[in-house]
Symmetry: C2
Subunit: 121 residues, 2 copies
C-alpha cells in the first residue's frame, strides 16, 4: 500500500484503487467532489459567502462555479433569496438537492465495486 505522506490523485475508495468522477450536465458543465462540497456548505450555511469562506475560497471563485452549476440543467441548483431582515441568503433548489443525492449514489456504487475489485488485482 502507498505511503500516507505521498501525494496521490483521486479518492482512496479501496486499498489499491483510487478514483474520481464527475457528473456532466444536460446543457454544459460538470460537478465533482469539490463542487459537491460547495453545495453542501451552501445548504449548511444558507449563504454563498459563508460557504465560500468556510472552504477558503474567494467569493468571486464561488460565484463563478455557481454560475456554471446553475447552467448544467434547465433548473438552477442555487437560488438567492432577496431581502428580509437577514439580507437574503442562498438555498439549494430541488435540482441542487438531487445532484448531491445522485453524486452520493454513484460514489457508493464506485466504492463498492472498487473494494470488490481490489482483491482481484
Amino acid at each position: 500500500m502507498s505511503q500516507d505522506n505521498e501525494k496521490l490523485p483521486g479518492e482512496p475508495y479501496s486499498k489499491n484503487i483510487r478514483a474520481r468522477f464527475w457528473i456532466t450536465g444536460d446543457q454544459s458543465g460538470y460537478i465533482g467532489i469539490g463542487r459537491i462540497q460547495l453545495l453542501e456548505k451552501i445548504e449548511q450555511h444558507g449563504s454563498m459567502s459563508q460557504a465560500a469562506k468556510s472552504m477558503g475560497m474567494s467569493y468571486k471563485k464561488a460565484w463563478k462555479l455557481i454560475e456554471e452549476l446553475n447552467a448544467m440543467y434547465d433548473e438552477p441548483m442555487i437560488m438567492k433569496l432577496k431581502g428580509g431582515k437577514s439580507g437574503g441568503g442562498s438555498v439549494l433548489t430541488p435540482r441542487g438537492k438531487k445532484i448531491i443525492e445522485d453524486y452520493k449514489l454513484v460514489e457508493q456504487e464506485i466504492e463498492q465495486l472498487l473494494k470488490k475489485l481490489s482483491n482481484r488485482l
Copy 2:
C-alpha cells in the same frame, strides 16, 4: 449532454458520468491512463526513447515515470536489454504486462457500472 468542444475532466465512460482511476503500488506510486499508455507504447516499440517520442514526451520525463513505475512493486515493470546489434531496447516484465491487464479489468468494470448508473440519474 455536454458540448463536445467543452474541456471536461476524466474519461467519458457513460453519457453523463465521467471518471478516472489509478492503481496504487504495494510500495509507493500509482499508475493511471497516461502511464498505462506509456507501458503500451514501450511494448509496441520495444524502446523507451521511441515510446516517449511517440507520445510527445521527453526522454527525461519518461525515464522519471518508469523509475516510479518500477518502484511500485517488488518486481519492476520495465527492463532494459543490454547490448546486441540493436543496442538494447526495453521490454515489459510479467509485472508490467499484469498491470495493463489489471487496469483494463478495472476500466471495463467501471464503464459497465457507470453506463448502468447513468440511466438512474
